[in-house]
Amino acid sequence: MNINATLLAQTIMFALFVWFCMKFVWPPIMAALEQRKKQIADGLADAERAKHDLELAAKRSAEILREAKEKAGEIIVNAEKRASEIIEADKAKAKIEGERILAGAKAEIDQEVFRAKEQLRTQVSAIALAGASKILGREIDAKAHNDLLDKLVAEI
């Protein structure tokens, strides 16, 4: 219970302990605490960002999917349109071609008919002449009766 030099010893010891604590204990542990705090904060921020990114990605993928679907639909519609167009065009072409062929054939037939008629006409005049000459029993001067014959031919 006596106050003695222990007082001084205790004060010095106290100062030394405080100094030691300040120098070698407090800063490293505090630094570790700070660093862990930072790591946790970073981790949380990263998680938050990742979540955000995921949301964005999901949104983007949905967008892309939607676009793709739209595009696919468009392509199908275009293809159908194109197909029908091609069919229509081919149909029209075929029709024109057919008509052309038909017209050619008709023209050829007409020509043939005309030629046959011509031939027939010339032969008819000859037959008529021959017939007439046989009927008359004599030769008919073709020259003299050319007018008549021509008229006959034209009539036929």
Binding site: M1, N2, N4, T6, L7, T11, M13, F14, C21, F24
Partner: protein
């Protein structure tokens, strides 16, 4: 143990006597074997028990914290690191709560005070007779195991705190500012003597109240442990009275020890908080 141990007064005295090393009446240096011898040594004597115990306890917790600090990493902390980090954060939070300035020393100071005082106080919970018995078996006449029941220890710390308060008062406010604070308020410059008296008492009261509060609480607690221990010491053969006293000692010791856990922690916390508050005052212009 001397024969005085066998009386109640002797038992109490024995328990309250420090192991003092100093100059004996015959001029040689050695350990005092009685309270009178210790008193006669005057100021230049050392209470070995206080010194050794506080050194051991301080070194033990410093070693513990240092071993954690050396390997402190920001990864997943182990048990010991967890505890030390928890303690540091607790101290840091209470320092932040009551200290508004910026000073790297206050945190470590608070940590040191809290754990040093706490460990010193905790020695109170050891069975009161074991260590003195062991020591007397080793030929050491006295051994007070609780350093904070020695006013030298509590005043030693309080003086350290007081020096810091003075240092930071002068550093923050300048010598003039500090002297002005002591002499120019609350009554202005014409009331200077009264001011000095009031503020001087105010200033001196800080370390004294710090030291006496801790010492008083721990000393009283120790005293009650001693008194409770005396009940069992009244054993006088197998009788109802002796058995009752003996049983009461066990129950009361248990009860007081459990209650004392609160006091031990609370006193350490109060010493720390008040130190921080005093330093905060020293850092502020007006208080």
């Amino acid at each position: 143990m001397s024969s005085e141990v066998h009386t109640s007064a002797g038992y109490i005295k024995h328990h309250l006597q420090n192991l003092t090393y100093g100059q004996l009446p015959d001029g040689t240096w050695g350990i005092a074997h009685s309270a009178e011898e210790a008193k006669a040594m005057g100021f230049w004597a050392l209470n070995l028990d206080t010194f050794i115990m506080s050194l051991l306890l301080g070194a033990a917790f410093m070693f513990m914290f240092r071993s954690v600090a050396k390997s402190a990493a920001s990864g997943i902390p182990g048990g010991m690191q967890n505890f030390c980090e928890w303690a540091l954060e607790f101290i840091d939070n209470s320092v932040r709560g009551s200290f508004s300035g910026k000073n790297n020393m206050v945190g470590p100071l608070a940590l040191t005070i809290f754990f040093w005082v706490l460990t010193m106080n905790l020695m109170d919970l050891l069975p009161i007779d074991y260590v003195p018995l062991l020591m007397s078996a080793l030929g050491v006449p006295f051994f007070k195991i609780v350093p904070s029941t020695d006013p030298n220890a509590t005043f030693g710390m309080a003086i350290g705190v007081f020096l810091l308060v003075l240092y930071y008062s002068v550093k923050m406010k300048g010598l003039g500012g500090f002297v002005g604070e002591l002499t120019l308020q609350p009554f202005g410059k014409w009331g200077m003597p009264v001011n000095l008296l009031l503020e001087g008492v105010n200033l001196i009261a800080k370390p004294i109240s710090l030291a006496l509060r801790l010492f008083g609480n721990m000393y009283a607690g120790e005293m009650i442990f001693i008194l409770i221990a005396l009940m069992g010491g009244a054993w006088a053969g197998l009788s109802v009275g002796s058995a009752t006293l003996y049983g009461s000692q066990i129950l009361l010791s248990l009860g007081w020890a459990i209650f004392h856990i609160l006091i031990v922690t609370l006193q350490a916390f109060i010493f720390m908080t008040l130190t921080v508050v005093y330093l905060d005052m020293a850092h502020q212009e007006h208080h």
